[in-house]
């Protein structure tokens, strides 16, 4: 047994390592027979995959989710499974030394490292004479666009974690003052998107393991999301689905229905429009997820969810009515349309009858 392997095995708690392998196998939809092979693949990987983790416009929520993973633990993740060469939040280095690390990682492993992006890229130009494209995000004197172009250009694969790096997230919401975009859209490259707010570390690790195991990236859907995690609709796997089918709905927060765990459809749950596995793998060490905790889904794994899934507590999108900019729902617009047609018909009928009567009174010609 090589020295390296012995060192690895000494560091690793075997039990939690195998737990991780089993979870990854489940997330990838493989049988339990694959668990030893996954363990072998991770152990045998000649060199742990070099990972460069970039931060753009975001809240670091995805790093938070990532390092709060308990199986594997943060230490196992950072030291044993991945070789995280650059990560602004958790790296020990700072300043020039940190930038040196980044340069080293991307030149030494050119074409082999994995770039994980967190956060959207601003592409707008700030006003003023000094403003240049992408200036809204500047790290070490360079724009985020610049850094992303250099790092993602030389990567084997670009994995976008969280909705911001995948599709722009909250800063890309209308009116989007900084011109924020997902990394793939901003750079015009294809990326593996692991959206969510935050993303679930099980999915990002499973994507990396898929690469270790098969040497390729997982199959993606039309939004660039791995199919193993984003192929199924939340509504179809929901633990409250029976209440939906039964017509049992929460109508008010804190009500008896809410306590009974009825369906949150009427409270604006976007489960019927959202594709994610969060109800299966769950968050926080597989203990909970939004609908399980009594809050409707807001569709955080879907593109532009801040615009298209809002209002989060209503069923249909709020639509701006051109007159006076009043927010109205589809129902209001529709009722107005039908009402207007009805009123028009009534007015016309009254007018015609009145006219007919006066014509008759006058003894006018028969119409």
């Amino acid at each position: 047994m090589s020295e390296e392997k012995i060192r690895l095995l000494n560091q690793l708690d075997r039990r939690s390592f195998l737990t991780l392998c089993a979870q990854i196998s489940a997330a990838l939809g493989m049988s339990s027979a694959m668990v030893p092979k996954i363990a072998e693949a991770i152990e045998k990987a000649a060199r742990r995959p070099s990972v460069v983790w970039l931060h753009f416009q975001e809240c670091t929520g995805d790093s938070e989710a990532f390092i709060r993973s308990t199986s594997p633990s943060t230490a196992e993740l950072v030291l044993d499974i991945l070789s995280i060469d650059y990560h602004e939040t958790i790296m020990a280095a700072a300043g020039d030394q940190a930038e040196e690390n980044l340069k080293k990682a991307i030149t030494e492993n050119r074409g082999k490292y994995i770039a994980i992006c967190e956060g959207a890229l601003p592409t707008a130009t700030p006003p003023g004479p000094a403003g240049k494209k992408g200036d809204y995000l500047t790290i070490g004197g360079r724009t985020g666009l610049d850094i992303a172009k250099e790092v993602c250009g030389g990567a084997f694969a670009v994995i976008c974690v969280g909705n911001c790096s995948s599709y722009g997230g909250v800063q890309a919401q209308r009116p989007n003052p900084t011109g924020a975009m997902g990394v793939g859209e901003a750079l015009g490259i294809s990326t593996v998107n692991i959206p969510g707010c935050p993303h679930n570390p099980v999915n990002s690790i499973a994507t990396v393991v898929n690469y270790l195991l098969l040497g390729s990236l997982p199959a993606l859907d039309k939004h660039g999301r791995p199919k193993f995690a984003y192929e199924k609709r939340i509504h179809d796997q929901c633990t409250r689905r029976a209440h939906f089918d039964a017509g049992q709905f929460v109508q008010e927060w804190g009500s008896e229905e809410a306590k009974k765990g009825y369906c949150l459809y009427k409270m604006g749950c976007k489960g019927p429009q959202t594709y994610h596995n969060c109800n299966i793998v769950r968050y926080n060490d597989h203990t909970g997820w939004p609908i399980g905790a009594g809050h409707g889904c807001v569709g955080c794994s879907e593109p532009a969810f801040w615009d298209r899934m809002s209002p989060f507590y209503g069923r249909l999108e709020g639509v701006e009515v051109p007159f006076g900019g009043v927010e109205a729902t589809a129902d209001k617009i529709g009722m107005t349309l039908v009402g207007a047609a009805g009123v028009g018909a009534a007015v016309h009928a009254a007018y015609t009858m009145g006219k007919k009567r006066s014509d008759d009174d006058k003894g006018g010609e028969d119409k």
């Binding site: 179809d236 039964a246 049992q248 298209r308 069923r315 529709g334 047609a341």
Partner: protein, 237 residues
Amino acid sequence: MGDDFESVVVDDEYKLVRVRTPFVCLLHWVIVASVITLCVTGLYVGSPILMFGTGEPYDAFVMAKTRFVHFVTASVLLTALLLRLYHSFSPSTRRDIYEILPTPSNISGALHLMWFYLTGKGRHEHYRYLNPLGGISVFLMICLFALETTTGFALYSQQANHISWGWALWFPSLMGRIFGGMPGVRLLHHLGMYCLLSLVVVHVYMKVYVSIVFKEADIVSIISGHKLFRRDVIAQY
């Protein structure tokens, strides 16, 4: 336009004229019944105001049943619409597709009729079949039906996990791209229903109006297939 239906003399003033085949009448009422069913069930699915689920889920199942009725009715409606459309194009029946399309002559005819209906001035042309204004409303209705069926089937195929082939794979994503995600599709599905309903209001009103004012038994013709025509206007055809 060939006089391919028999005309029956009623009296000196009126003539009974065949305007529709029983099949077309039947299709009309199938469409009416399915639209009503779809609106009622669709409104419940969109916003379940009435709550029936007092018992446990296993003996309630209201939403599931409502949605089942909605989906089955949708396919009935689609079938009826396709049959009706075929009927419009079919060489073996009276081709009424030219009365529906917004051609320049239809548009000018419709504007004349609209002017008459709005102001009571001008001449009211009589038409044996669809008048141009009615034709254009039917055209609008067809567009709305197309919108409703496409958005509806896009929403349906989202949960059609049992269909692992064909349209269910690409159709929702196509619609999602066109309308800005499934929430947009859902919104248009709702708005389309209201537009359709306001056309229904206008349609029913116009039929009642024309039947009362011109005494041509217009509204009965959708049941009997026959319409009364005054002899002095029928000379035009």
